[in-house]
Symmetry: C2
Subunit: 140 residues, 2 copies
């Protein structure tokens, strides 16, 4: 069971922002601090903006800020959003997939229950509770 690196990075960004309430941290600064691709992180931040989680302000003193209080954003909400195009199994895809067992499959409902249990567990925690301040980053 895997989450996309895109989702992982989105969570890292939000945890880091929760440690910088002034909203002056930029994508470039986070990319450098975490040593991950700036190009990739730009797309992640754009998607977080699209999802209504953060907003960006250009220019001097600008940066990424929460669009909603991090105390109101659960991990489950963020992961559901960022993973929205990744189907757990073939038949969960928007087009239904090509699995020939689908009409009589007794597994699909079990997978829905398990996926719901996964997200429900993540709904128990907010981004604010996972705050990460830059000072904690390990030396390399």
């Amino acid at each position: 069971m895997r989450l996309a690196a895109f989702t992982d990075y989105g969570l890292r960004v939000m945890m880091r922002l929760a440690g910088e309430p002034e909203g002056t941290l930029t994508t470039g600064e986070i990319a450098r601090e975490f040593q991950i691709s700036y190009h990739h992180l730009t797309k992640v931040v754009q998607d977080l903006v699209r999802g209504g989680f953060v907003q960006t302000r250009q220019g001097a003193g600008g940066g990424i800020a929460f669009a909603r209080p991090p105390e109101s954003i659960t991990l489950g909400e963020v992961v559901r959003y960022l993973e929205r195009q990744h189907a757990l199994v073939e038949c969960f895809a928007a087009n239904g997939g090509k699995c020939l067992l689908t009409p009589a499959c007794r597994l699909k409902g079990k997978f829905y229950e398990a996926q719901n249990a996964f997200f429900a567990a993540l709904d128990e925690t907010t981004i604010a509770e996972c705050v990460y301040s830059g000072a904690e980053t390990r030396e390399t």
Copy 2:
């Protein structure tokens, strides 16, 4: 959140075998019936043998049979086994990954809980309860 197609196929094989208790169904027959790659399915069956779930018998009247009663095998057990090399997030990998947040990350424990909830839900159901007999396969 995605499972590997390899895992999906492994479950399809076991559901199908549960509907054929004589143990005379071959990998080739299942591949044809489900219209999936014989080459890929051979590797899946080899891995199920390695995991102690099924055994194969060569020659006339041979095929794939359960090594343990399907009533004793849970979905959770099979998925944990087949997904054993796929880390949910980078830091779950055997080598620990390269994420710089790891030492002070408050997210990792939450992901463990969520992953456990996912598997616990799948542990509620056995392969025998997901039996799939060939007659149910839809026409294409």
